[in-house]
C-alpha cells in the first residue's frame, strides 16, 4: 500500500493531475460554497485566506526563526490603519491600492525592525512578553490617538474606507465575466487567493534558501549559528521584518475588504489565535500552517450551527450557541495538542526532533536499513 503510494507520489503525471484538480477546486470554491452554504460562507472563505497570509507571516518569525512573538497582530493593525487612513474620508486622502499595498508591507516591516532591534538579546518567554507588550501598546495608541489631534479616530474606528480597486476595476462591485456574475466577495476571493499563493510561493522559496537555513540554524542553536558565520542580528531582524510585512499586506487587504476597522479587531486574543493556527497545524511546515489557519477560521464559524443541532436533538435550544462555541473551541485546542503535540502536519525536522517517540524511532530505523536508498 505505502509502496504504491510512494510510486504515485513520484509519478509526475499524477502529481500534475492532483495540482490541476486542486487548482480547479480553488477556482470553483466560492461558487460551490455560495450555492451550498450561502453568501455568508464565501465571506468566511475570504477571511480564511487573510488568516492564511497572516499565519504564514507569523510562521517565518516563530516557525522558522523560533522567536516567540505574541504581539504579531500589531503589524496587521499597522497595515490596516495605514490603508484606512490614506484611503478614506477621514483625512480626505484616497491613495490607490497599488501604492498602498507595498507601502503597508514596507511600514509594517519597519515596525518589525522597530520591535526587533531592542529585543535582540532577549530569549524565549522574555521575548514573548515584550512582543505582547508591544502589541498592547500599539492597540492602546490606536484606541486613544483621537485627542488632542485626531489621528486614528479612537475606539470608533475608521469608517467608509475605500474598497480595493485596480485601475477602474472595483473589487467590491458585482462584475460579469463570461456570462457569470461575480459579486464583490467573489472577486475579493480571487484577489486574496492570488496574493495568498504569492505569499505561499515566497515562503516556499525562503524555506530552502540561504536565509531560511540561517533562520533554522538560529532556532536550533544561536551560538553555533553565530560561530558558523551567520550574522544573527541581521538575520533575526530580517525575520521580524519579513513576518511583519506579510501581516502589513493582509492588514491592508482586511481594511479595504471590510470597509471599517476599529482597534477592537487587533486585540491580544487575535495574536494568540494566529499563534494557535501555526502551532496546531504544525510549525515550520507550510502545508501545516495553511491547514491550521483554515481549520481555526472555519471551525468556530461551523460551531454556530450548534444551536440548530441542539434544536434538532432536544427540540429546543438548551445552551445558547454563541456561548457554547468558544468553550468547544478551547476544548478542541487542548485535545489536539494533547494527542498531536507536534501539530497536525509537523515539519520533517520537527518530527525528527521527537526522538523519544517510538513510532518516529521505528521510522528512522526503517529508513536506516532501507536498501533502496
Amino acid at each position: 500500500m505505502t509502496e504504491r503510494w510512494q510510486k504515485l507520489r513520484h509519478d509526475h503525471r499524477v502529481v500534475w493531475l492532483v495540482y490541476i484538480a486542486l487548482a480547479m477546486l480553488l477556482v470553483a470554491l466560492p461558487f460551490l460554497t455560495g450555492a451550498a452554504l450561502g453568501r455568508g460562507w464565501v465571506r468566511i472563505l475570504d477571511f480564511t485566506l487573510l488568516y492564511v497570509m497572516l499565519a504564514l507571516g507569523l510562521n517565518i518569525v516563530v516557525g522558522y526563526a523560533g522567536l516567540l512573538d505574541l504581539g504579531y497582530i500589531a503589524f496587521y493593525a499597522v497595515g490596516a490603519y495605514l490603508y484606512a487612513l490614506l484611503a478614506s474620508p477621514h483625512f480626505g486622502l484616497h491613495l490607490p491600492f497599488w501604492a498602498l499595498l507595498p507601502m503597508g508591507a514596507g511600514i509594517a516591516g519597519l515596525f518589525g525592525i522597530l520591535l526587533g532591534a531592542p529585543t535582540l538579546r532577549l530569549r524565549g518567554d522574555y521575548l514573548a512578553i515584550v512582543t505582547l507588550g508591544f502589541g498592547e501598546i500599539i492597540r492602546i495608541f490606536l484606541n486613544n490617538l483621537n485627542a488632542p489631534i485626531n489621528i486614528t479616530n479612537g475606539p470608533q474606528g475608521v469608517n467608509l474606507i475605500d474598497p480595493i480597486a485596480f485601475g477602474g476595476f472595483s473589487f467590491s462591485q458585482t462584475h460579469t465575466f463570461f456570462g457569470a456574475s461575480f459579486p464583490g466577495i467573489y472577486t475579493y476571493y480571487y484577489l486574496f487567493l492570488a496574493l495568498a499563493l504569492l505569499i505561499i510561493f515566497v515562503s516556499l522559496r525562503l524555506q530552502n534558501s540561504r536565509i531560511g537555513r540561517a533562520w533554522v540554524a538560529i532556532r536550533e542553536d544561536e551560538v553555533a549559528a553565530e560561530a558558523m558565520g551567520i550574522n544573527t542580528r541581521n538575520i533575526k531582524l530580517l525575520a521580524f521584518a519579513m513576518g511583519a510585512s506579510f501581516a502589513g499586506i493582509s492588514g491592508g487587504l482586511f481594511a479595504g475588504f471590510q470597509g471599517f476597522i476599529s482597534p477592537e479587531s487587533f486585540n491580544l486574543f487575535e495574536s494568540i489565535i494566529v499563534l494557535c493556527m501555526i502551532v496546531l497545524g504544525g510549525m515550520g511546515n507550510i502545508a501545516g500552517v495553511i491547514l491550521g489557519a483554515v481549520l481555526l477560521t472555519i471551525f468556530p464559524e461551523a460551531l454556530r450551527y450548534i444551536g440548530d443541532l441542539q434544536s434538532y436533538l432536544f427540540g429546543h435550544i438548551v445552551v445558547d450557541a454563541a456561548d457554547l462555541r468558544m468553550l468547544i473551541f478551547g476544548l478542541a485546542l487542548v485535545l489536539i495538542m494533547v494527542f498531536r503535540p507536534a501539530g497536525l502536519l509537523p515539519s520533517v525536522r520537527r518530527r525528527h526532533e521527537f526522538g523519544s517517540d517510538a513510532s518516529v524511532l521505528a521510522q528512522e530505523q526503517a529508513s536506516l536499513y532501507d536498501t533502496r536508498r
Binding site: L122, Y126, G133, I272, V334, M337
Partner: protein
C-alpha cells in the same frame, strides 16, 4: 505631595495583589518552564466562587457577621481553585511534559478559553457586584486616605508571601520543589516524587490565586468572567519584570508594577505636558517593562542564563 502618597498607597495595594498572582506564574515557570496562561482564569474563578457563596448566604437570610460570610466564601474559593489547579495540571499539562514547549503553551491558552467560557455560562456576562458586607473605615494618613480593606489586603499578602518564602527556603517540601526546579530527572533519582511536587506547586499557586481573586473583587467591588485575562496578563508581566522563576522577583515585580501603574496614571499627563492622558497607564507599564528587559534581559532578580557553548 498628598497625591503622591495616595498613588503610592493605591499602587502598593494593587501591587500586592499582582504579586500574589505572579507567584503562581513564577512557581510553575520555575519548575516546568511553562507559561500557565490559565492562571489568570483561576484567579477569576476564585472571585466568582466567593461571590456565589456570599450570594447563597445572603439568600438564606442567615444572620451572621459580614466578615464571617466573606471568610466562608474565601475558603470555598480556595477549595475550588485548588481542585481546578490540580485538574488542569493533570489533564492539560502532564501529557505534554516531554513535548515542545509551544504545544503546552497552546493547551494553556485552550484551558484559559474553556475556563473563561465556563464562567460565562455559569455566572452570565454581566458584572457581579461585591455586596457591602465589610464595614469600610477610612483613615487619614499624611493627607492621603487609606481604608481598612487596603490595609488588610497589604498585611494578608505580606503574610502569605512570607509564609511562602519560609515554605520554600526552610521546609523539606520547599527543598524538594527547588530541587525539582533545578533538575527534574536528578531530583527524581534522589527520591523526590516529581509528579507530586508539580501537583503541589499548582495547588499552592491556585490557592494564592483564589485569595488574590477574592481580594480584587472586594477591592474593586466587582467581578466579571473576563477579569482574569487582564489580571493574569499584568501578573505575568510582573513575574517577568522581577525575573521569571524567581520567587522574590515575582513579589518585587508585582509591587513595582502596581506602583508604576498608579504613578503612571497619576503623572503621565504632567510628564507629557497633557499630551497623553491617564488611559495610557498600561502603555506606561509595558514601556517600563520593555526598558527594564532591554537593560537587564532576564528581569530584575533573574539569574543570567548561561548560553550553551
Amino acid at each position: 505631595m498628598d497625591i503622591l502618597t495616595q498613588q503610592l498607597i493605591n499602587g502598593l495595594v494593587l501591587g500586592s495583589i499582582y504579586a500574589l498572582v505572579a507567584l503562581g506564574y513564577t512557581m510553575v515557570y520555575g519548575i516546568l518552564e511553562l507559561i500557565n496562561f490559565a492562571h489568570g482564569e483561576v484567579t477569576m474563578f476564585g472571585a466568582m466562587i466567593c461571590l456565589a457563596v456570599i450570594g447563597a448566604f445572603a439568600g438564606s437570610g442567615a444572620d451572621m457577621h459580614g466578615a464571617i460570610i466573606v471568610l466562608f466564601g474565601l475558603l470555598a474559593a480556595i477549595a475550588v481553585c485548588v481542585g481546578l489547579g490540580f485538574v488542569i495540571e493533570r489533564v492539560a499539562y502532564r501529557p505534554l511534559r516531554r513535548a515542545p514547549r509551544l504545544a503546552a503553551l497552546i493547551t494553556a491558552i485552550g484551558v484559559s478559553i474553556v475556563l473563561q467560557n465556563l464562567a460565562m455560562l455559569i455566572w452570565g456576562k454581566q458584572y457581579i457586584s461585591f455586596p457591602p458586607l465589610l464595614p469600610l473605615v477610612r483613615y487619614e494618613f499624611g493627607g492621603a486616605v487609606i481604608t481598612n480593606l487596603q490595609i488588610f489586603i497589604m498585611i494578608l499578602s505580606c503574610l502569605l508571601m512570607a509564609g511562602l518564602l519560609l515554605l520554600i527556603k526552610r521546609t523539606r517540601l520547599g527543598r524538594a520543589m527547588r530541587a525539582t526546579a533545578q533538575a527534574q530527572d536528578i531530583a527524581g533519582l534522589m527520591g523526590i516524587n516529581v509528579n507530586t511536587i508539580i501537583s503541589l506547586t499548582f495547588i499552592i499557586g491556585a490557592a494564592l490565586a483564589a485569595i488574590a481573586g477574592v481580594m480584587v473583587s472586594a477591592y474593586y467591588g466587582l467581578a466579571h468572567y473576563y477579569m482574569g485575562f487582564m489580571l493574569g496578563l499584568k501578573a505575568f508581566t510582573a513575574a517577568v519584570l522581577g525575573g521569571i522563576g524567581n520567587i522574590a522577583g515575582a513579589m518585587l515585580g508585582g509591587l513595582l508594577l502596581g506602583v508604576i501603574e498608579s504613578l503612571g496614571a497619576g503623572y503621565i499627563g504632567t510628564l507629557t505636558g497633557g499630551f497623553l492622558g491617564s488611559h495610557y497607564q498600561d502603555v506606561f507599564a509595558f514601556f517600563v517593562l520593555i526598558l527594564v528587559l532591554v537593560i537587564r534581559p532576564s528581569g530584575l532578580l533573574g539569574e543570567r542564563v548561561v548560553e550553551r557553548a
